[in-house]
Amino acid sequence: MTAYALVSDKQFIADKCLLHRRHVVKMVRLTNSGHIGGSFSATELLSTLYYSFLKHDPQNPKWDGRDYFIYSKGHISPLAYSILADCGYFPKAELATFRKLGTRLQGHPDRNKLPGIEASTGPLGEGFSMALGLALAQRVDRKPNHVWAITGDGEHQEGEVWEAIMAAGNFKTDNLTIILDYNKKQNTCEVNKVMCLEPIADKYRSFGWNVIEIDGHDIGQIMDAYRKALAFKGKPTVIVAHTVKGKGVSIFEQEASGFHGAPPNDAEFAKAMAELGPAKEPDFF
């Protein structure tokens, strides 16, 4: 079995990010629901992971040698689906069915419906615990497979997240890397206005974690952080990725919630697509 061919070309990944942002806006527009802001803040983080680091095989999603990736912030499903389709897990045309009746592309990822989804997530905090469970299972089986998960900043207000952070530190699961998409905004408004997380890096450190802080839109920094996370032994790693919610489209970035969960209207859609500009390869429709 051969894994998906990984690349280290930053321009290749940047081009893919543009493609995925266009897809996300179109999917949300088409079904008139879904989460753009958090998808945009995580686009470089996840594109770099899937195209450059994650051991996976879209032709054989249950490949025994695969790394696991968990969408603990499951609401960024449009980004997840765009990436998975582009990798070859399912036909790109299916992206047009996002959130529609009968689709495999549920509002939040469903492992029993869609290949490439390791855990059904969405309820915040749960993916974090499930990722920890996967990491502990690899330890029991003495397997080298790495477990990755992306989590949101607002998600860290869930008590379960802190239970999991404490447990991962306690068990020293160095085969677990958590990517914190720190876009500073949540459903209502700025995270710090709702429930401040700071000092988040120090909190993780005090719970026994290796902490790496980066600009979550700088592909070079992301690659460097992923390399360091994979090499680090003795502690789980959290990558505190400073990001911008709605990154790449001014009206999304400026909106109070970072365009969290609302669909764009006609004008917003036109402006977003114009600002993003044409992709180097055709969109899914």
Partner: protein, 318 residues
């Protein structure tokens, strides 16, 4: 209250601990989690034998359930235990979403169910767990009646795929069964045949129901007694047969009368063959401190109360 007919056995949680350790030897894919109660839930027996496959997740049940789901995704069978209150109530949403919606192969084995936790009082007495577990799609709900039944049930549950909630108890239970007991998910067990009324019971209440049937026999009332350890899936065939042949049903459980075994039986009967159903259980109140047997008396869960319910049910027959 009279003593049990076959003597005092062991607590269902003790039988669980012993059987789980045996299963651990036979199946290397069994992983066990606990939340700092392993000496009480008896998962410590497994933990001592297989420290590499046992994780004490600390007093953090929500994370424990999510971790259990994650481990199961690699093909393992995960048992997660705590007291029924904290195994079912605290992490309900994780059980619903991380376990059941994922269709994860996680077995939540909850000990100290009902008022059996006794002296710890209302805050620790799970009287709603069957109702809230039963309401979740894909979840199976099982409540054994004694130690021998628990052994067979744990073995059956371990070999079955999918989310399951097993409710166990704290005190020693009377011996009801020997090793010839066999259990199948979705099947009840006819213990005593009769035609005037059927008592459908779970857990400790099976003993009280048998005593009630004995008391009623002296009055010339013929009572059928069924152990419905498999609350979900319910043995609807056996329930409807009882409805048809006896014309009325009494349910008995150490649980709220809302949504538990009584609810399940009433739902089944109302849809399939409507007859009077009288539910014996805790009547929508919290428990309180006391020893188990005193609490059974206080909350109306002993044989004389069940016998009264049978008399009332028979009167309601048209």
């Amino acid at each position: 209250m009279g003593g049990p007919s076959k003597g005092t056995g062991i607590a269902t949680r003790e039988a669980y601990g012993e059987e789980l350790a045996k299963l651990g030897e036979e199946n290397k894919d069994i992983i066990v989690l606990d939340a700092d109660l392993s000496t009480s839930t008896k998962t410590a027996v497994f933990g001592k034998k297989f420290p590499d496959r046992f994780f004490d997740m600390g007093i953090a049940e929500q994370n424990m359930i999510g971790v259990a789901a994650g481990i199961s995704f690699t093909g393992k069978t995960v048992f997660a235990s705590s007291f029924a209150m904290f195994a079912s109530g605290r992490p309900w949403e994780q059980i619903r979403n991380a376990v059941c919606h994922n269709n994860a192969n996680v077995k939540i084995v909850a000990t100290h169910g009902g008022i059996s936790v006794g002296e710890d009082g209302a805050s620790h007495q799970a009287l709603e767990d069957i109702a809230i577990m039963r309401a979740i799609p894909k979840m199976k709900v099982i409540n054994p009646a004694d130690g021998a039944a628990t052994r067979k049930i744990i073995r059956e549950v371990a070999s079955d795929f999918g989310p399951t909630y097993v409710r166990l108890s704290r005190p020693k239970f009377p011996i009801l069964y020997d090793d010839s007991y066999s259990f199948k998910i979705g099947r009840g067990n006819l213990l005593d045949d009769g035609s005037d009324c059927a008592i459908i019971a779970i857990g400790y209440e099976v003993n009280e129901s048998l005593k009630a049937a004995e008391m009623l026999k002296a009055e010339g009332i013929s009572v059928r007694v069924i152990d419905m350890a498999s609350i979900k899936p319910l043995d609807s065939g056996l329930v409807l047969k009882a409805a048809r042949e006896c014309g009325c049903i009494v349910t008995a459980e150490e649980h709220s009368i809302i949504g538990g075994l009584g609810g399940a039986v009433a739902e089944c009967v109302s849809a399939g063959y409507p007859v009077p159903v009288v539910r014996v259980g805790v009547k929508d109140v919290f428990g309180e401190s006391g020893d188990f047997l005193s609490l059974l008396e206080k909350f109306g869960l002993t044989a004389p109360h069940i016998a009264n319910a049978v008399r009332a049910a028979i009167k309601m027959k048209a």
